[in-house]
């Protein structure tokens, strides 16, 4: 299954990535080959198998509602490219 250029551009846009024409061609091929790989699953007969979201049967462990320590501010912001007023600072997204 071959992805169109338009589909690749759409996916890139959802991820807020801007791709060059060359990159679009490159990812068009790479993403298509990933999809082809997964296509193999279609060959399996799953008629008698219940829809499954996980293969391990560990139940969901629940946590008691008890507050614990958060990160010191310096540690939290340590790797941030930019900060201001103890907050992460990022380029404007919406106009």
């Amino acid at each position: 299954m071959k992805l169109s250029r338009k589909q690749v551009e759409h996916i890139a846009n959802l991820a807020r990535l801007s791709l060059s024409a060359k990159e679009i061609t490159q990812f068009q091929e790479q993403l298509s080959s990933i999809l082809d790989y997964f296509e193999q699953l279609q060959d399996l007969d799953t008629n008698d198998i219940l829809p499954t979201t996980r293969v391990l049967s560990i139940p969901c462990r629940l946590r008691t509602d008890y507050p614990t320590a958060s990160l010191p501010l310096d540690d939290l912001l340590m790797n941030a490219p930019d900060t201001e007023n103890d907050q992460f600072r990022v380029p404007q997204i919406l106009p």
Binding site: L14, A15, R16, T53, R54, L56, I58, P59, C60, R61, L62, R63, T64, D65, Y66, P67, T68, A69, S70, L71, L73, L76, L77, E84, N85, D86, Q87, F88, R89, V90, P91, Q92, I93, L94
Partner: protein, 491 residues
């Protein structure tokens, strides 16, 4: 003019659950409108690699309470899912939510409308996590704009309640939202403070020509921070869509914002298609299994819900619909009413209701405080109403005493005896006052005796003024008439 369109509205309500810690980590839940930024953030809610989410049991319990109060069917196994989108308020690049197999589905909520009770079906109730808070700094002097991110709110448990498109007008949308908020407050899971954004109401609105059964393009309205804004925004949007439709223009599927200062909706962004979120089961959280036993335990512990209380108040206390509605709007108020009624059995509950919804609410609104802040205990209110009921004070005095009780927290008997506000009901005392007033005004008496009987009104006013309004007006009127007629006869 006959309306040519029918309005179709569905409501999505997001309500934060008032747990102590966040949905998937132990960070404390803080008031994100007041706390210093980023003081309650850890690797899990900051979306750092290698961190793992663990579900908060209390959040599930609260969610179940709401789902059961909405008479939903609970899924014994529900699945958390990743909703993928890129926006700076979402540190992981996805929100943990529920998609297929939500916590609960197929519920309903009865609302009251002008034409009676109406059933609004609930499509689904699911759990998710809140996002961080962004502050947008606009471009300035050629410097580009930017955004600041505070993650205190990121990961706070959030309940999404989605209605079916059963709502047909702006008024019904408001009624649904008010009813749902009251329910959440009764269940003790959400304060209902829209200004603080702990509950967020997002209507989606479309119109269709009457007689059509298909659904047309809908728009969603965001950032509504009051019920009034909700009602106005929906009404505006209905009108906008009708105008477009009549002009033959297309209605675009998009998210609208509400501009409070101009009272109009404006396009915010074109909405992503559902498939763009690329939902898939959250690999870090196993399916959530909820045993029937847990469900039944929560169901059994549900408090009396607002709808049942409303009906009981009308039936038991013979209240008007409006009074019942006001009194059940919060448990603190309905409890206050019932405590007061139980301590003054000889006073009609309707009178108690009127004093609470009239005088007491008036004082609360004037001072801009909440009902929980009032200093007057229910038994003190009933003591005041007893003084009034037994004629020891008149209505105006009772109102003045209530105001002083409200300010000082003193009990009514002390206030009345200290300030000599007791109503004068002693006939001998009143007779003496009237006698003196008549004697002091011979000219007016003469006018009266000459046939101008309206002067008796003037005498009445003088007596009441002379006693500072404390004389029992009924007794004054009777005694004054008696004395004047007596003088007329003697003429």
């Amino acid at each position: 003019m006959k309306p040519n369109f029918e309005t179709i509205i569905g409501l999505e309500v997001h309500a934060e659950l008032e747990t102590r810690s966040k949905m998937f980590c132990g960070c404390p839940v803080v008031d994100s409108t007041e706390a210093k930024p980023n003081i309650a953030v850890c690797p899990v809610c900051a979306g750092m690699p290698g961190s793992l989410p663990v579900v908060n049991q209390q959040a599930v319990e609260y969610a179940l309470k709401v789902a059961l109060a909405l008479e939903c069917q609970i899924n014994n196994t529900s699945i958390f899912a990743r909703k993928n989108y890129f926006y700076p308020d979402l540190p992981k690049g996805y929100q943990i939510s529920q998609y297929e197999s939500p916590l609960a589905h197929h519920g309903h909520l009865k609302i009251r409308t002008q034409s009676g009770e109406k059933n609004i079906r609930i499509r689904r109730v699911h759990m998710e996590e809140d996002t961080g808070k962004l502050t947008h700094i606009p471009p300035n002097n050629g410097k580009p704009g930017y955004s600041l991110i505070d993650l205190n709110r990121a990961g706070v448990p959030l309940l999404e309640i989605v209605s079916e498109p059963d709502i047909r007008s702006a008024e019904e949308a408001r009624s649904y939202a008010v009813t749902l908020r009251t329910l959440l407050r009764y269940l003790g899971v959400n304060s209902g403070d829209m200004q603080k954004g702990v509950i967020r109401i997002e209507p989606n609105v479309s119109i269709r020509p009457i007689g059509s059964s298909e659904f047309y393009t809908r728009t969603e309205i965001k950032n509504l921070n009051s019920f009034r804004a909700l009602e106005r925004a929906v009404a505006y949007e209905i009108q906008r869509q009708q105008n477009l439709f009549r002009q033959g223009k297309t209605i675009v599927q998009q998210t609208m914002g509400w501009d409070e200062s101009h009272q109009k909706t404006f396009p915010q962004r074109t909405k992503e298609e559902e498939e763009d979120y690329r939902y898939f089961p959250e690999p870090d959280i196993p399916p959530l299994v909820i045993e029937d036993e847990w469900i039944e335990r929560i169901r059994a512990a549900l408090p009396e819900l607002p709808a049942a209380k409303y009906k009981r108040f009308i039936k038991t206390y013979r209240l008007s619909s409006d009074d019942a509605d006001l009194l059940i709007s919060a448990q603190s108020i309905s409890n206050y009413f019932e405590s007061t009624v139980s301590t003054c059995p000889d006073i009609p509950p309707r009178t108690v209701a009127n004093w609470i919804t009239g005088e007491l609410f008036g004082l609360i609104n004037q001072r801009n405080i909440t009902f929980e802040d009032i200093k007057i205990l229910p038994r003190e209110l009933s003591a005041l109403l007893s003084l009034l009921h037994h004629g020891e004070i008149n209505t105006n005095t009772a109102k003045a005493v209530l105001t002083e009780m409200f300010e000082t927290g003193n009990d009514p008997k002390t206030i009345v005896s200290k300030s000599g506000l007791n109503q004068i009901s002693n006939i001998a005392q009143i007779a003496k006052i009237i006698h003196d007033v008549i004697a002091a005004n011979p000219k007016e008496l003469e006018t009266y005796l000459n046939g101008k009987e309206t002067v008796s009104q003037w005498f009445f006013g003088q007596v009441m003024r002379g006693t500072g309004g404390k004389a029992n007006p009924k007794i004054v009127k009777a005694e004054l008439n008696r004395q004047l007629l007596e003088l007329k006869r003697k003429q």
